[in-house]
């Protein structure tokens, strides 16, 4: 345990509030009547439903298949009937509905047959495909598909594997409890990770406010046939940020704009390791997880909840209290308020935090920024939050980007310390989503321009070809006419031309009649007027479009 620890710049130390929930035994949540399983629970493409409404599904059955490389499957968390596939309210800051599969449970909780995987005997690529189909995704919060993270890439190995057990947000204790109870399973998962990544150094970082978890993990690690170093790290938020954890344990910083694998380090949450072990050794898909239910409830505790369980089921279990002011999913620093208690537990749900006016007093009104730079002192990404705020507020997103807006991890330290109580993180999220939207818009505009220019080019070419063809035809016809024997006196050259024009006119008229819309008789005057306006505009456009061409044709 002589490892030299490093520190990261910034960070804060809010009251921990861990003791409320980590002392009670873990219960399994009751089986709800209805499970709502969102198809988009992870980063990447949403899963594609593979069941139909009315179909009976078994516990653990695949109901949404992974779509593409960066994706993960979703499974039925219990047996029952699929009653709907469509939009339902999901845990998201927007409060907007998203596609879900809704299952009415039958109470029998009937499993499909499970088959463990012999991971050592499998091709790594096959194994990763299997994990993707078992729905494995990071349980720490970002929910990145684990199969992708377990791919060591071109280097074929990732020398350092870090298990993140910091759990630095206040109130949350699900990782703490998991480590106390299932240290062996977690380390089994680590063995699989080590196998896939080819790691030689394995570090487990746990904040020093969790002595029992540390002891349990150390005990389990001692039993392994490979070295796992369990390290107690100082308790400071956000030590659990992947980049911060890397810096604490190795002293290295992940270069801006790069991934940790670029410097040979991969980080997993301990919950993910546990789920991985379950998936490989038991063949179990990811259909449940540990969730901390805490805050303003009678019995704060951790529960084993099925994915898709509505939040109110868990809150009732923990003891509902009168006078709550809201419910957060996640911790108080990065969590999001829930629009509705019917939203389901998803793979990312680590904590359900019930608020009360006493525990979470309403935030004081914001004052103007006085540039005191406490935010800069607290920022673990070493940014200048006050400048980012200024740019975001002014709508100067380009400058915000220059000042590394996208290196912000939205940890909330800046907002926490701000003496003016400015909701800084909100401004950064707003700026980021504006920039994304603009990029998207710009790409769409570029595409439209390109297509329009190509069309102009094509029309021009077609017109030219047509003109050439016409000229050739006219020439041929004239030759024909001239060659024809004169019956009643030879028609002059001029007559021939006239005839040609008359023929062309007749053709054009016929064509025009053909092209005229057939549904314009007996229109209401409104529509008639509208059509006329549109016609006028089109005529004008045509007129304008012709002008430059004509002028070009002049010598």
């Amino acid at each position: 345990m002589s490892r030299k620890l490093h520190t990261f710049k910034g960070g804060v130390h809010p009251p921990e509030h861990k003791a409320e929930s980590n002392a009670r035994p873990v219960h399994a949540a009751p089986l709800p009547k209805q499970l709502v399983i969102p198809l988009r629970q992870h980063i990447g493409n949403p899963a594609k439903p593979v069941v139909e409404v009315g179909q009976r599904v078994l516990k653990g059955q695949l109901i949404g298949a992974a779509d593409g490389y960066i994706s993960a499957a979703v499974h039925a968390s219990s047996s029952g009937i699929v009653t709907a596939i469509g939009p339902a309210v999901v845990p998201h800051a927007s409060g907007l509905p998203d596609d879900c599969i809704i299952i009415d449970t039958d109470g029998r909780d009937e499993w499909i047959s499970l088959a463990p995987l012999d991971y050592r005997a499998m091709e790594p690529a096959d194994l990763r495909m299997r994990l993707r189909d078992l729905g494995l995704a990071g349980l720490g919060g970002a929910v990145f598909p684990s199969a992708v993270k377990l791919d060591p890439g071109a280097a074929h190995h990732c020398p350092t594997l870090i298990l993140n057990g910091a759990e630095c947000e206040p109130w949350i204790t699900c990782d703490d409890v998991l480590m106390r109870l299932h240290a062996d399973d977690i380390l089994q998962g680590v063995a699989i990770m080590r196998h896939l990544l080819g790691s030689t150094e394995i570090l487990v970082g746990i904040e020093d406010n969790k002595p029992e978890a540390l002891a349990s993990m150390r005990f389990a690690a001692a039993k392994l046939d490979f070295a796992v170093e369990v390290v107690a790290v100082p308790t400071i938020y956000p030590a659990g940020g992947a980049k911060q954890m890397i810096e604490i344990l190795t002293g290295q910083q992940v270069p801006s704009g790069k991934l940790s694998t670029d410097i040979g380090i991969q980080v997993f949450n301990i919950g993910t390791a546990h789920a991985l072990a379950r998936a490989v050794h038991h063949g179990e898909p990811l259909i449940s997880r540990l969730v901390t239910v805490t805050g303003f409830v009678l019995r704060p505790q951790n529960v084993e909840a099925l994915i898709g369980t509505p939040l109110h089921t868990l809150i009732t279990l923990a003891g509902d209290r009168e006078g709550s002011t809201g419910v957060l999913m996640g911790g108080p620093m990065m969590g999001m308020p829930m629009p509705d208690l019917a939203v389901p537990v998803v793979k990312a749900t680590n904590c359900i935090l019930v608020q009360s006016a006493e525990l979470f007093p309403p935030l004081p009104k914001a004052l103007p920024c006085i540039r005191c730079t406490r935010c800069a002192d607290a920022c673990p990404a070493e940014l200048q939050p006050q400048e980012l705020f200024r740019f975001a507020k002014a709508g100067d997103f380009g400058r915000a980007q220059e000042y590394h807006l996208f290196d912000c991890i939205e940890c909330g330290c800046c907002s926490y310390v701000c003496p003016s109580h400015i909701p800084l993180v909100d401004f950064y999220r707003y700026a980021k989503s504006e920039i994304w939207a603009r990029e998207k818009e710009k790409r769409a505009a570029d595409l439209a321009r390109e297509r329009h220019e190509f069309r102009q080019f094509r029309l021009e070419r077609e017109k030219q070809e047509k003109a050439e063809k016409l000229a050739a035809k006219a020439k041929a016809k004239r030759a024909e006419l001239a060659a024809a024997p004169a019956a009643e006196g030879a028609p002059s050259e001029a007559d021939a031309k006239k005839a040609l024009i008359a023929a062309a006119l007749a053709r054009a008229q016929a064509k025009k009649a053909e092209a005229a819309p057939k549904n314009i008789d007996h229109l209401p005057p409104d529509t008639q007027r509208e059509i006329e306006e549109i016609e006028a505009r089109r005529a004008k456009i045509r007129e304008l479009a012709r002008q430059p061409l004509e002028s070009e044709e002049k010598p």
């Binding site: 999901v90 401004f427 999220r429 769409a444 456009i541």
Partner: protein, 183 residues
């Protein structure tokens, strides 16, 4: 006195020679300003501005032949950006060219479509696929929402569907700090 005249006149002649020569020798072809304006325009190619497409409108603005407030899809924000680029005062949209509408894409009711190809000819970005006598479909990703396909359709099978806000399109709203009392 004579020297003064000589110096002035000599200087003038030299300057005149240099400028006259440069004016012809270093003439800049093309119009970089039109490019910049075109980059701001939304590329809807709807022709509401009175020009057949965004590029001709951009060129007209660059030449000073068109005003900056004739593009309803660009909205007030577009006018503001153009004003900033050209260093003039922004002005409200000219409503005779139309009013801004929510972003939409065209949708063809394939039950009604008779496959006349008129809309295909009207589409400025070739975002409609289909052949004569066969039903047509809009490529939603390429549709700019210009509405040019609506008038030619003989059976009125095309409707504009506003782009709904869903999760992938959702944006964080600008936070509001209420400092001032709202009057």
């Amino acid at each position: 006195m004579f020297t003064a005249i000589l110096v002035m006149v000599g200087l003038a002649v030299i300057i005149g020679l240099v400028l006259g020569w440069s004016a012809i020798r270093f003439k800049v072809e093309g119009n970089p300003l039109a490019e910049k304006i075109d980059a701001i325009l939304p590329q809807t190619q709807c022709g509401q501005c009175g020009f057949p497409g965004c590029r001709p409108y951009a060129e007209a603005i660059a030449k000073g032949e068109a005003d900056i407030n004739q593009c309803p899809p660009g909205g007030e924000e577009g006018v503001k950006k153009l004003a900033e680029l050209l260093g003039v005062e922004p002005k409200p949209l000219d409503e005779s060219h139309g009013t801004p509408k929510p972003k939409s894409v065209a949708f063809i009711d394939e039950q009604i479509c008779i496959g006349c190809t008129l809309c295909i000819q009207a589409c400025p970005v070739d975002a409609i696929v289909g052949a004569a006598k066969q039903m047509h479909t809009i490529v939603a990703d390429e549709c700019t929402g210009c509405e040019l396909c609506l008038p030619p359709c003989p059976v009125d099978c095309i409707t504009m569907v506003p782009i709904a806000e869903d999760l992938p399109h959702w944006k964080w709203k600008a936070p509001v700090i209420m400092l001032k009392k709202v009057s």
